[in-house]
Symmetry: C3
Subunit: 265 residues, 3 copies
C-alpha cells in the first residue's frame, strides 16, 4: 500500500483538482496555501448566489463549520445538497462538535447530505455520533480512543462516510478497513488549523483518487510526515506553520516512504 | 513583581484557559496561534445562535471591533452582556476608535457591559474617553502620552476597567497602580495585529490570574519581550511575525527576567 | 523611467498613505502586512454603516471580490460609488471573473463607478471584458496573452481604467502606454493571494503618485522583484510568503534597479 499512497500524491500534483472550500476564517489562508503546496487549486466561496455553480465546477467540496453562523450554514446546506445530488465527493469537518447545541443541530442536518469523508478529533467524532443518535455503549470503553473508534464505526454504519479520527495516531475507518497512521509531531497541536488543513487535503485526494480510503490515508500521511519533518527544523509553532507548507511542496518519494508508519487491520 | 509575572506565564501554560474571541478577520489566524503558543486554547465564534453558550464554557472573552459590522456587533453585545452577567473577565480592544461615528456608537454600548480590561493605542484610548463623555482637559497636555494617561485615568474612574495603553512604552493604569513597560522593538509596528494579539494574551492571563493588573502586565511584557528577542533574528516583518510565535512558545525564565524593563509608580 | 519607479517606492515609504481595503478573507492578513511592509497604512472595513466615512478618510480604496456575498457587494457598491464621487483613486480586483454569473453581475455594476486601475490575471481580464460587453475578436488571437491584451485595450477604451494583466510577464495598458514587466518567480503562483497583494500595493502607489501608469508599474515591479529575490532563499511557498514581506520592507535601490526588467512600447 505504501507505494500506492505515493502514487496518489503524484496524481494530485499532476491533475491539480479544483477544491471548493466553505471553511472558517481562522484557517482560510493556510488552507489555500496547503492546497496549492500539494498541487491542488483552492476556491473559497460562500455566497448563496453562487455556491451551487461553484460546486458544479469544482472537483470536491470541504464543509468546515469552525466559524459558522446562520448565513454560512445556509450556504453549507445548499452546497452539500448540491454535491450530493451531482455526486461530487465532499468532506465534513465538524469543528467544535458538542460545544454548543447550535453546532450539533447544524451537523445533524449536514449528515443528511451524505459526506464522503468525516474528519475530526476523537471528541468531535464522539460528539457527532451522539448528535446522529448513534448509541455508543460507553460502558465498555476503557479509553477515549476505544470510544472514538466505536463512535466512528457506528457513524460509518449509519452514514456510509469514511471516518477519520485525527490525533497522535490517525485512525481511518471504512467498510472493510481500519488504518492506523503513526506519524506527526506533538508541536503540530500548537499550530492552529492543521486539522482543517487535513480536511482540505483529504478533499484534494478524494477528488482524483478512486479508492477513497486510500485517498484519505494518502492525505493524512502526507500532512503528518510533512509536519514531522518540518518540526525537526522549527524552533516553535510559528516556524512550523511555515515549514509544513514548504515540505508539502518539496517532499520527495524517499522522504515519504522512509518515514511512513502505517498499520492496517 | 518580576518573579510574579513569570509565575503568571507558567500558570497560563499549566492551566490552558479557553479563550473566546470575537475578533477581526485580519488577525484571527495569528491570534489563535499566539494563544496556542502561550499555552491557552482559542475559540473563535460569533454566531448569535451560540455566543452565549461559548461565553459560558470559556474562561475569558475578547471583543475586538476591527472589522465590525451590524451582525457582528449584535454578537458582541450578546457576548459581553453575558460575560458581565456571569462574571467572566473580558477584554475590549477598541480598534479604530474615533475613525467613524459607527465605531464610537458601538464602543459606547460595549462599555455598558463593564470590560475588565481595555487595551488600545494612545489615540484609541483618547478617542474612547471622548466617546464615553470623559472630559480630558487637553490644555494641560504637553504630549500625546500625557493626554492618553489622563484619558485612561478618567476612563478607569468611569468604567472600572484596567486601561492598557500600548506603544513604545506600554502603560497600565488601574485603581492604585501605574505600570510602565519599556520592552519591544519598532519593527513590531510593521506586523499587522500585534495589538490584537496583546488583547488576546491579556484575556488568557486574566482568565487564570487573580491579580488582574499583574495579569495584564505579564501578558504585555511577555509579548513585548518575545517581539524584542524575535526582532533580533528577523530580516523583516514577515520573519518577525513567525519568530514571535516561536518565542512566545519557547521563551525561558532567564530570557524573560533578564530583558524585562518594568517601572511602577 | 527606472529611476522614477524607485522614487515612487520612496514616496510611498515617506508619505504612508492610508489604504482602505474591502477584500477577501483569505488574504486579509497578508495584504495588511504587505501594505505595512512598503510603508503604507492598511484599514480593513466593510460595514455599510461606515464605509463611506472610511473612503473619505483614506487615500485610496481596493475592492477585491474574492469571497464576495450579498452584504459585502452592497458595501463594495457604496464604497466605490463614494470613491468615484469624491475622486479617490481605487483599484478593482476581479477575482474569479467568469467563474459564476453572480461574480459577473457584480463586476458589471462595479465598473459603473470607474475604477482607476483594474488588475487581474489574463483569464479574469478576458472574462471581465466579456462581462462589460467589450467584444474581443478571438479569431485573431494566436495566444491567450494576445487575447488578453486585446481585451485589456478594449476594457481601457470603455472604462478609462488602467488595465494590469498579471502573469509570468505583467502587462500594463493605458491610453498611450504599454509596459511589460518580466520579473518574478514561478513559485509565487504557489502562494495564495499574491495577486491580491499586487492590487493592494497598486492602491498604495496610486494614492500618492500623480502619474498613475508609473504608479502601477512601480507597485508591480516592486512585488515581482521582492518575490524573485525572496524565492532565491526559500525552500518552498511557506517560506516565500514570509520572505516576500521581509524583502518588501528591506529592498534597496541597488537591488531594485539591478533586477528590474521593464520594456515599454
Amino acid at each position: 500500500m505504501e507505494k500506492k499512497l505515493w502514487q496518489h500524491i503524484i496524481q494530485v500534483r499532476n491533475t491539480s483538482p479544483l477544491i471548493h472550500n466553505i471553511t472558517n476564517y481562522v484557517v482560510m489562508n493556510n488552507t489555500a496555501n496547503a492546497l496549492l503546496a500539494v498541487g491542488a487549486s483552492p476556491i473559497m466561496a460562500h455566497a448563496k448566489s453562487e455556491v451551487e455553480e461553484m460546486v458544479t465546477l469544482s472537483h470536491a467540496l470541504v464543509i468546515n463549520i469552525g466559524t459558522l453562523d446562520e448565513y454560512w450554514t445556509e450556504s453549507m446546506f445548499i452546497a452539500s445538497k448540491k454535491a450530493d445530488s451531482v455526486k461530487k465527493p465532499w468532506v465534513l469537518d465538524p469543528v467544535g462538535a458538542g460545544a454548543t447545541s447550535y453546532r450539533d443541530t447544524v451537523l445533524n442536518q449536514l449528515l443528511f447530505f451524505k459526506p464522503t469523508v468525516i474528519r475530526g478529533n476523537a471528541s468531535e467524532i464522539i460528539a457527532l455520533a451522539k448528535t446522529a443518535d448513534v448509541v455508543t455503549k460507553g460502558v465498555d470503553s476503557t479509553a477515549i480512543s476505544t470510544e472514538a473508534i466505536e463512535a466512528a464505526r457506528n457513524l460509518h454504519a449509519k452514514t456510509g462516510a469514511i471516518i477519520c479520527i485525527s490525533g497522535e495516531t490517525d485512525i481511518i475507518i471504512s467498510q472493510n478497513q481500519c488504518i492506523y497512521l503513526k506519524n506527526g509531531n506533538s508541536m503540530m497541536t500548537k499550530v492552529t488549523g492543521l486539522g482543517c488543513t487535513a480536511s482540505a487535503l483529504i478533499a484534494a485526494f478524494i477528488a482524483v483518487v478512486d479508492h477513497k480510503t486510500e485517498a484519505v490515508a494518502a492525505a493524512m500521511s502526507l500532512l503528518s510526515i510533512a509536519g514531522e519533518l518540518a518540526a525537526n527544523e522549527s524552533a516553535g509553532p510559528g516556524s512550523l506553520q511555515t515549514h509544513i507548507l514548504d515540505k508539502l511542496y518539496n517532499i520527495t518519494e524517499h522522504e515519504f516512504l522512509t518515514h511512513l508508519k502505517i498499520v492496517q487491520s
